[in-house]
Symmetry: C2
Amino acid sequence: MHKEIIKDIGEKELIRRIAKYMPANQASDDCAFVENKRQDLLINTDLMVENTHFNHKIISPRDIGWKAVTANYSDLISSGCMEFIGINIGLVLTPSTEWEWVQELYEGFSEALNNFGGSILGGDCSRGENKIISITAIGLQSRLKLRRNACKPGEILLTTGIHGLSKLGLLLKTNKIIKEDLNLSEKLINLSMNAFCRPKPKYNVLKTILHSSEFFLEREIGCTDSSDGFYQAIFDLSKESKCKAVIDYQKIPKNNAWPNGKKWDQFYFFGGEDYELLISLPRNWANKLIEMDEEVTEIGYFIEGSPNVEIKNYPKKYNLDNNSYSHF
Amino acid sequence: MHKEIIKDIGEKELIRRIAKYMPANQASDDCAFVENKRQDLLINTDLMVENTHFNHKIISPRDIGWKAVTANYSDLISSGCMEFIGINIGLVLTPSTEWEWVQELYEGFSEALNNFGGSILGGDCSRGENKIISITAIGLQSRLKLRRNACKPGEILLTTGIHGLSKLGLLLKTNKIIKEDLNLSEKLINLSMNAFCRPKPKYNVLKTILHSSEFFLEREIGCTDSSDGFYQAIFDLSKESKCKAVIDYQKIPKNNAWPNGKKWDQFYFFGGEDYELLISLPRNWANKLIEMDEEVTEIGYFIEGSPNVEIKNYPKKYNLDNNSYSHF
């Protein structure tokens, strides 16, 4: 079957087709117009680069579209965004890109936007040597101001879920782990593939944090998401809040079928592309939140001290190496 | 001399160095926080891709930085932005990029921001196969709502300046035009090089439009910038406003030293990367604006009719071809 490629379609037709995914009132000017007389804004940019973040062997364009939006929204959520305005898309394509690929990508964007809110506000597209998706997402700042630098000594450290799944998904997709060799459960495999391709940012927990609060005034709470990895997230909280994080290895929640051993701990601690929240709350509030959301788990606390992460009760034989990810 | 490259610096150090160009309060979270209880917003994304929009032979990283910000701001201005909040930067680099290149780029960003306002709000960086700068700029919507679809039959079409210079600059830079062969004036050559490397968006004219107005209420005005070329800008106004543009070739302002002939008209009409404004105003307002700003010139008008651009008094012998630019 003949497939249309971007070179044959040309730039104008490409832009016309892409504009169909936008609200009709946004398409006639270069700039997006956003009505806003109410709230402060949160803005976040994330890049997805072919052969760095994705390739056609491991993820479909529809999943890339979903992931590009949700990864971005996870950052907004981790700053306290509860209402999304939308996204601007910078799209770089090779001339031989099939239109179908672009269409599937935009279907993925739309699916994520339909799930979480917001619309495509605008963007730009250009030719390049590999595919790149640069998304800038904009949302409203709720009265829950979540910030990396707002953790306080004495507060409890919570996680909204388990880590390492996305890394396992990637390793399975790239055949660096062969499922038959390891006798992994089918359920864990599916969960991991899905965590890699279809991350679900922890939007709902923000409402529960608000509902579990005794305060009704605007206040800052220590929080970040774990997109750069579980360990890195806690380290960033500790560094920006200028205090020490202590976590208890025995309290860290894992999938029932997650194997033991140093290698698996490395995936868990340094895997990255998890989109859980790490939250720091006073004791009472933490207890209330745990009571209201069964996925939220207490894993440690903050104390006065130099920025650092201490892992208590860690099996000495494993000797965890910090090998966090760098793109370069 | 040994030059530091990004691969040796690593991602964390790169981000740390880049963060120095941001306001101190923005650097600790992924999201940018923008305080805004006042006005509606304008948002615009522009891509600059190595080997598509630039290469090291024709433009310095400092000029790329300047141009990336000002091209973006020109779009905001052309929608009626009179106050800039800032930019989010998606930066893709090859591992062998020299740090000095990145530093010069950020010096260029800063220079433009210092000139026009706004700051670096945030961004993301990643490894890729060529350099890409994806900038999303955010500004406030003034009460002058400039829109492509707001031109009305009977209104006068104005330009804030001359066109074609940037194209000539590019042709000179790429040796597709040899200055000695054509006996071009040194002044025109410098002006063109500068138009290509250091575009100046027409920010000040917005104030003059407001001051020349008899209205004090918010209203929509037909306007776009000419970044996609002089002809394309007028065509877009005509198309989005659903009326016909008539321009008088004899009235179009040219540089005194600009040569005559079909080739030079092609550069003028279809060259692109001009950052003038094309504005549609009622007769009295247009006269007032021309009186107050000597660079503003009347070049035609809009009438009822199918979207199209009619060029009156065009020398028949030249027979202008519409060959507007496509990136693919």
